[in-house]
Symmetry: C2
Subunit: 266 residues, 2 copies
């Protein structure tokens, strides 16, 4: 089996430590590689097999990994349990879901919620129209910031150094409409900030238009973005801007209220 993804070997100074090796091992799991044998774990993480053996034993004892019937390892339920305490994903999600559901039920278009992590976005929650699902944005998946409406919102409100990094780096082209000129993208981002929403018109693929708006945390910073994705010939996306913004603001308000109540998800 050839690897579609480059090997995850890491050669940092700190990568010799046991903890780093353990993390390298669990980091080999990603979409499309959800079950691995011990040998695969060793190969993909760059950790020697005997070492991997012992580490995997301990991870499995604790429940971070599990073995299936075939003896392969997969991410364990216990790890998911603690991960579901991550404020930036599940904490946010818990509050945002009712709003997203309302938006979905009034429009029946795909609704997305994402946060920024470094110079990428991570999809945190989505509601999809079953008749019409693009598998693409997997919950838990990472995607580029400069392509989608939701990414443009997050990029527009990112710290300067992140924005400059993305603007400097190569801007991968997906369609003829994708922004690949840094100067143009910079102009667009300024508009996103001043208007309070972003539109991505066939920049990811030629069939879809996205409308996105920022979600603010209790301290006024942008902690997430909400988007609605529709087919570009379905309806005029301008009509949807208000709806998306109102929903995003509703989530922001709920976050502020939850913050005041003590349990502050950011």
């Amino acid at each position: 089996m050839t690897d579609p993804i480059a090997e995850d070997a890491a050669d940092d100074e700190a990568s010799r430590s046991v903890v780093s090796r353990a993390l390298a091992i669990i980091g080999t799991f990603h979409g499309g590689r959800e079950r691995q044998s011990l040998s695969e774990l060793s190969r993909n993480s760059g950790v020697p097999i005997a070492t991997a053996y012992r580490i995997v034993q301990r991870l499995a004892d604790w429940g971070a990994l599990e073995r299936d019937e075939a003896g392969k390892y997969r991410i364990g339920l216990r790890l998911w349990e603690v991960a579901s305490l991550a404020p930036r994903s599940m904490g946010l999600q818990r509050i945002a879901r009712p709003y997203m559901q309302d938006l979905y039920e009034t429009t029946h278009y795909n609704v997305q919620l994402a946060v920024r992590e470094g110079s990428e976005l991570v999809s945190v929650e989505r509601f999809q129209n079953p008749q019409y699902r693009r598998g693409r944005p997997r919950v838990g998946g990472r995607y580029a910031l400069h392509v989608t409406a939701i990414g443009l919102v997050l990029l527009a409100h990112a710290p300067d150094e992140v924005r400059e990094e993305v603007l400097a780096g190569p801007l991968k082209r997906y369609t003829e409409h994708t922004y690949t000129d840094p100067a143009q993208l910079r102009r667009v981002l300024a508009e996103v900030r001043s208007h309070g929403f972003a539109i991505s018109d066939r920049q990811m693929d030629l069939d879809h238009v996205g409308v996105a708006a920022p979600v603010f945390g209790p301290d006024g910073s942008v902690v997430a973005a909400l988007s609605l994705v529709l087919r570009h010939d379905d309806v005029d996306e301008k009509n949807m801007v208000h709806l998306v913004r109102v929903t995003a603001n509703g989530i922001s308000r709920a976050l502020r209220k939850a913050g005041e109540a003590g349990r502050a998800p950011v």
Copy 2:
């Protein structure tokens, strides 16, 4: 601040290893303790502070932990990303959600999905009526098997040793209707197996009635359970049994189809 939960110190043979210490540290997080300072992590995990410091550094470097503005540590987004690859939670959830949503929209009662982990149940997904939310079953939370309808289904189909363990152990009473007599519970579980569903009538609290049915994996084993929770004076729960069973069977069928397509969630 006094701890509502007993200290998580562990003194096993293997608990001296670095990996086990790291896991002990991330294991100190649970509902109600989502943000901890380094000192708290050290105290709650039993790991000396200097050691905890080094381990936490590495966990934070990788993204398993993050620091918030106040300098406290919380579960990081990166950990949630890999955890969202756990077949028994997110894999199952991805398939079950549309069915759960349909059930919710036709009834507007609370819908739950849970799996068994050891002698407890872990809530994997839920749809709640906003007007009427009991905060109780937090997604990612653990609960006893003998009290709720969903737990009774999971317990009825658990391996013998698990069932015996639960029957032997103390059966905590929540209301006057809770099953606390092992012989009685054993009889109930046999009925659950033969009838293909479970009903919990005010056994958790005096207001709610639950109806639950098993979800089968591709190999015919019970991998999860689905439940509908209603107020006991709302409607005759018998009317709901058919609906819950049909929905659970729909999920089972979808799991089988996904299994045949290669990506087998269990």
